[in-house]
């Protein structure tokens, strides 16, 4: 004897978001008269404690056994209300959520009656569906108590450490032969002036010495399968090429040199190399891309050819932390005369240039003394569509890179301290020294006599070679809004471009993980406030600048927050997946295999042979953990033998019927 | 923690508390009288026709910002309702007495 349906219907005002357009009281009134509805209520804010308590109370006291809520988007609060329903002792999937806000009130702000009518239809459809809801159980799976962290920069290191020191195992992989990432290329860091590599060393020491962390350098992800709690990740690792015994000798003997990316091409390095003193691992590595099989003679002996023997192995992890970091924006050829004038460099290059200089040495560039230097802000950031030339993908970097203002003022202060006679100009749009201690750099730069010139993004400064005979090699032209929009000419010896941040080239990884990017091309979180470090893919977590521009402090915080999420996910060794996956009705299935063909996901559905009454028959079998519930198989099945649980065809039909009802009938029902 | 009290002992307790908080009670009694007076005056002004805050302020001879505070309070507790606009000012009228 099936239990009697008792549907509770709730129409939320959403603090006015819905009720400003939709006449919620009318909707609730009409819903009251729908079949099986025992209670229909409205609430100012259903997700509030009081609202949730009301639902609980109705379940307990009125015996409500199906709950229909018309409120915000289900993505926002479906989970919240599942918890509410569950607390009251009802199966959490006996509840249906209708997005009245996104689907109705927000899109029909000028048509209150129409929106109210639509709300009635949507709610009636929800009630119709609710009549067909069946209790479901989430898919519970054992979770691997190990996480993969991709990227050995400061965020990756911090995330790995934070996960590991709480008892989970971590596989940390880094694409390059050495860990430390972009932070290793910095010298003093704001706002404290500490040495970047000292800070990094402390962190690396902890990571390297931690028993729960396995570190792989020169390694990258080549395949991802599985789901939260049970990801199978294939990793390819290149060989180091040298051993502890022969490394020094080989490095000495190696003759081939290439521009050193650690110094942004300002110096050369060998193809067997260590990027900087104190790097980790200390063992030099072979740069296979540039080495290209060139024989090396050790002490006049037989020439040796080093060989890369890449290894592939699989790891099982419960969650994946993406900490792939950023690249400094590389200006286009000719952008601010970059690449055309030798006197135009990027800020990261200047940092390396200063690091390479001996202490007490005068500032020179290209052999010439530098007396006047200009730093241009927002290079590759805050670009304007229709003004700035689009990048390869047709987009412009319309975001702010967040760190460049403070970084370039930090540089200005440092330059002023080291070279007091230097004239420094900062060409900016807005000074964004927002963080703690950052404004001090602005003040420090002003106190040090740095001149500020404010340009508009619509008219960026022009960098041109100075006419022959001028006192300086480069002439900047800029319309300065601080000088009443007059055009200024600034003769300088060096132009420094404060380049922004762009995401790393990780298209393969993005495709493998099926995570999405925002319009800024950085990886996208689910919601900046509700789930700020999680991606839409369960178990894939973001840490650091892969998500967007951040400074070191912020990267560390984001990485720790990511670690907290991993711990919450994997801490108890189990994960729960939503039950909205395909289910085969054995009675109806006759093994056509159409579903298997239609399925896009590995191992989600397959034909299996059963013996029934002595006959061998084929039937489709779903592996719930691999199914995403897309419904492709449902459409393909000629026998209506497959349904996606929670979204069955009969439910759809009931909803369509309700949607199609005449409003008068609906009201009079 | 609260113990079950008889009405008699409750009355005694309140009396005792009022003695303890004599200064507060005195101050709030003055405040109450003032609030009652303002309420009566404002309600009188808007009993028949809806009025804007500056109009009420002129009628009861009080600063407009103070009147607005009272209006907000009366609105919250259902003593008056908004009744349309006059230029940039919303109009308020006394709510009908609930029976």
């Amino acid at each position: 004897m099936p239990e009697k349906l008792k549907i509770g219907v709730y129409t939320c005002y959403c603090g006015g978001n819905i009720s400003h357009t939709v006449k919620c009281e009318q909707v609730a009134k009409v819903m009251e008269s729908q079949p099986d509805v025992v209670i229909s209520r409205t609430n100012m804010s259903l997700c509030s404690d009081a609202g949730q308590s009301q639902i609980e109370q109705d379940i307990k006291e009125l015996g409500v056994n199906r709950v229909v809520i018309g409120a915000c988007a289900p993505s926002l609060h479906e989970q919240t209300f599942r918890g509410t329903v569950m607390r009251a002792g009802l199966n959490p999937f006996l509840y249906h959520h209708i997005g009245l806000r996104e689907q109705d009130s927000w899109v029909h702000t000028c048509d209150c009656d129409g929106a109210t009518c639509k709300a009635m239809h949507l709610m009636a459809a929800g009630i119709a569906k609710a009549r067909h809801l069946q209790p479901l159980e989430p898919i519970r799976l054992e979770a691997e108590k190990q996480a993969l962290v991709i990227g050995g920069g400061v965020a990756g290191l911090r995330a790995a450490l934070d996960i590991a020191r709480q008892g989970l195992r971590v596989v940390l992989i880094e694409k390059s032969p050495f860990i430390g990432g972009r932070m290793a290329q910095l010298e003093a860091v704001f706002p404290t002036g500490e040495k970047a590599r000292d800070l990094l060393c402390d962190l690396v020491k902890k990571v390297a010495g931690h028993p729960n962390i396995k570190l792989y350098t020169q390694a990258e992800v080549t395949g991802v399968t599985g789901y939260v709690g049970n990801y199978g990740v294939r990793i390819l690792q290149h060989s180091r090429g040298v051993s502890a015994e022969d490394a020094q000798a080989l490095m000495t003997a190696c003759k081939k040199e290439v521009p050193d990316e650690f110094n942004y091409g300002l110096s050369q390095r060998k193809v067997i190399y260590q990027p900087f003193e104190g790097c980790y691992p200390q063992l030099p590595a072979v740069d296979w891309e540039n080495y290209q099989g060139e024989p090396i003679s050790l002490n006049g002996g037989q020439p040796i050819v080093l060989e890369d023997a890449p290894q592939t192995f699989d790891v099982s992890v419960g969650a994946i932390v993406v900490a792939t970091g950023f690249d400094p924006y590389e200006p286009r050829q000719g952008e601010y005369s970059y690449g055309e004038l030798k006197e135009v460099v990027t800020l990261p290059q200047l940092i390396r240039h200063l690091a390479l200089m001996k202490s007490g040495e005068a500032l020179t560039w290209n052999g010439h003394p530098v007396r006047d230097v200009a730093l241009i802000h927002c290079v590759g950031s805050r670009e304007i569509e229709g003004v700035d030339e689009p990048h390869e993908d047709g987009q412009v970097n319309n975001y702010c890179s967040r760190v460049c203002c403070t970084a370039s003022l930090h540089m200005a202060v440092e330059l002023h301290e080291k070279f007091p006679a230097l004239n420094i100009y900062e060409l900016y749009q807005d000074i964004r020294t927002y963080g703690r201690g950052h404004e001090d750099y602005y003040r420090g730069a002003l106190d040090g006599g740095v001149r500020f010139v404010r340009y508009s993004g619509e008219e960026r400064p022009q960098v041109t070679p100075a006419p022959t005979g001028d006192t300086h090699p480069v002439l900047l032209r800029v319309k300065d809004s601080l000088t009443y929009n007059e055009e200024l000419e600034i003769p300088v010896d060096l132009v420094v471009l404060a380049v922004g941040m762009v995401p790393r080239q990780i298209d393969d990884l993005v495709n493998m993980l099926k995570v999405s990017r925002g319009t800024d091309r950085f990886l996208l979180e689910v919601h900046p406030k509700l789930r700020p470090v999680e991606t839409a893919v369960n178990g894939v977590i973001l840490a650091g600048t892969a998500q967007g521009p951040m400074n070191i402090q912020e990267s560390l915080s984001a990485a720790s927050a990511a670690a907290a999420k991993v711990l919450t996910l994997l801490g108890r060794g189990k994960v729960e997946l939503p039950p909205f996956v395909a289910a085969v009705d054995a009675e109806k299935c006759n093994g056509t295999g159409a579903c298997v063909e239609a399925c896009q996901y590995d191992g989600a559905i397959a034909l299996q042979t059963f013996t029934e009454n002595g006959k061998e028959i084929k039937r489709a079998v779903v592996t719930p953990a691999n199914c995403v519930g897309c419904g492709a198989c449902v459409a393909a099945c000629p026998n209506r033998a497959i349904d996606v649980q929670g979204w069955t065809l009969s439910q759809y039909e009931a909803m369509v019927d309700a949607i199609g009802m005449n409003i008068v009938d609906l009201v009079e029902a | 923690m609260t113990t079950q009290q008889t009405p008699q002992s409750r009355g005694d307790m309140l009396k005792r508390l009022r003695e303890q908080h004599a200064a507060t009670v005195e101050r709030t009694q003055v405040l109450l009288r003032e609030q009652k007076r303002v309420q009566q005056e404002i309600c009188k002004v808007i009993r028949d026709t809806p009025k804007s805050v500056p109009e009420i302020a002129a009628a009861v001879n009080m600063p407009a910002n103070e009147v607005l505070w009272y209006v907000a309070s009366f609105k919250k507790y259902g003593l008056l309702v908004e009744k349309g606009m006059c230029a940039d000012y919303p109009l308020y009228q006394k709510a009908e007495e609930k029976k």
Partner: protein, 388 residues
């Protein structure tokens, strides 16, 4: 198009600018200033020109002279950039620019030069008197015997002539830099019709009153009013003294003792009192540093009031000695008095701080002339538009 010149900022610092580099151009100072206008958006206009090193504009702008240093800008500056002091330093710098001899620049940027010149001129006066003075009558005070009136008067006129020459040539340069540089055509008639402004502002510093009138805080308002009143009294004091000495020297360099009703007595006493008051107030203010305009002091801010004070005091002493009939004391004080008066007038008036006495009213006058000319240029356009 102007070319940025980083040296101007350093130059201004030599003229005593403080904090000018701290300015991040928020515009607070200009908006808080009761005297700034769209045409003269100072102090930031001045600060900005200085920051980018636009020397030509710096030279040609009247803005620094239109400021009376009420100090609102400095008091409310969010960055502590002391805009008021930048205006002060710009006035010194401009004085140096107007002055073709180069002495003003030397005096403002080198204390040794300024003090040295004062001492030199003082010693010169002493030497001249020592060489050419008349007989020393010791029985009674006979100043005119010691320093014959007609010679002193002649020297007076020669000095006045020199002053007029230097002032006139510097003023001409000021006129050239500020009125002719920007290519605006200014009909001569406005120089005539607006001339009254020059007199009015020289005598009353009328604009200064605006600074006080705008002030909301009563204490600050009173302080501003006091500052203006005392300054006015001071100006009236030395103005009067100058007139008296140049045209009525015979009243002062005399061996007679006039009765109290005589203008020599009461005018002299009035001038003496206000000079003492003004110079003393200025010096005391600079010691206390309570009001904005006195928080920073360039050497030139000290030297001028000190000279004024010494000159006044020696004047009083000399008067007293004659009263008490002390011939030698009178003669020596007279020498000392002249030894301070001469450098004060010769150096401070055309090349020093005192130059603002005429540059400021001139700037107000020029501003008025410019505005008239601009208004006239705009009227026909408007009229034409209306006719269309």
């Amino acid at each position: 198009m102007s070319r940025v010149d980083p040296t101007l900022l350093h130059e201004l610092k030599e003229y005593g600018a403080v904090g000018i580099e701290k300015c991040f151009n928020c515009g607070n100072c200009t908006a808080i200033c009761p005297l700034a206008s769209d045409e003269y958006p100072f102090p930031r206009s001045v600060i900005r020109r200085a920051q980018i090193g636009d020397k030509e504009r710096m030279k040609s702008q009247l803005d620094p002279w239109l400021c009376y240093y009420c100090g609102d800008c400095s008091a409310t500056c969010p960055k502590g950039a002391e805009p008021g002091e930048t205006m002060m330093a710009s006035r010194r710098w401009l004085t140096g620019q107007y002055d073709w001899t180069g002495l003003a620049r030397k005096f403002y940027t080198s204390l040794a030069w300024e003090l040295g010149s004062i001492i030199l001129v003082g010693l010169l006066v002493v030497w001249i008197i020592a060489m050419f003075h008349g007989p020393l009558v010791t029985e009674r005070v006979e100043l005119n015997t010691f320093a014959p009136l007609h010679i002193v008067h002649l020297a007076d006129w020669v000095m006045a002539g020199a002053l007029v020459f230097f002032i006139a040539t510097n003023v001409l340069r000021m006129y050239w830099l500020t009125m002719r540089r920007d290519g605006q055509k200014i009909p001569f008639k406005f120089y005539v019709t607006e001339a009254w402004q020059l007199v009015l502002h020289a005598l009353t510093q009328k604009r200064w009153a605006t600074c006080a009138a705008d002030e909301k805080d009563e204490k600050t308002r009173n302080a501003k009013r006091t500052a203006r009143t005392i300054h006015l009294l001071l100006v009236s004091g030395y103005g009067l003294m100058l007139v008296l000495i140049i045209f009525f020297l015979s009243w002062f360099q005399t061996d007679n003792i006039y009765p109290l009703w005589h203008p020599q007595r009461w005018l002299g006493y009035y001038a003496t009192v206000v000079l003492l008051l003004g110079a003393g107030w200025a010096l005391w203010g600079r010691v206390k540093k309570e009001v904005e305009m006195h928080r920073f002091s360039h050497p030139s801010d000290w030297i001028f009031p000190i000279l004024l004070l010494v000159v006044t005091l020696t004047g009083i002493l000399q008067h007293a000695f004659r009263y008490w009939d002390m011939p030698l004391a009178t003669y020596y004080t007279y020498v000392v008095h002249l030894a301070f008066t001469a450098p004060m007038l010769i150096l401070e008036v055309p090349f020093g701080k005192w130059a603002h006495l005429y540059y400021r009213p001139l700037a107000v006058y020029f501003q008025a002339v410019k505005e008239k000319a601009k208004a006239e240029q705009q009227v026909p356009e408007g009229a034409l538009a209306a006719a269309d």
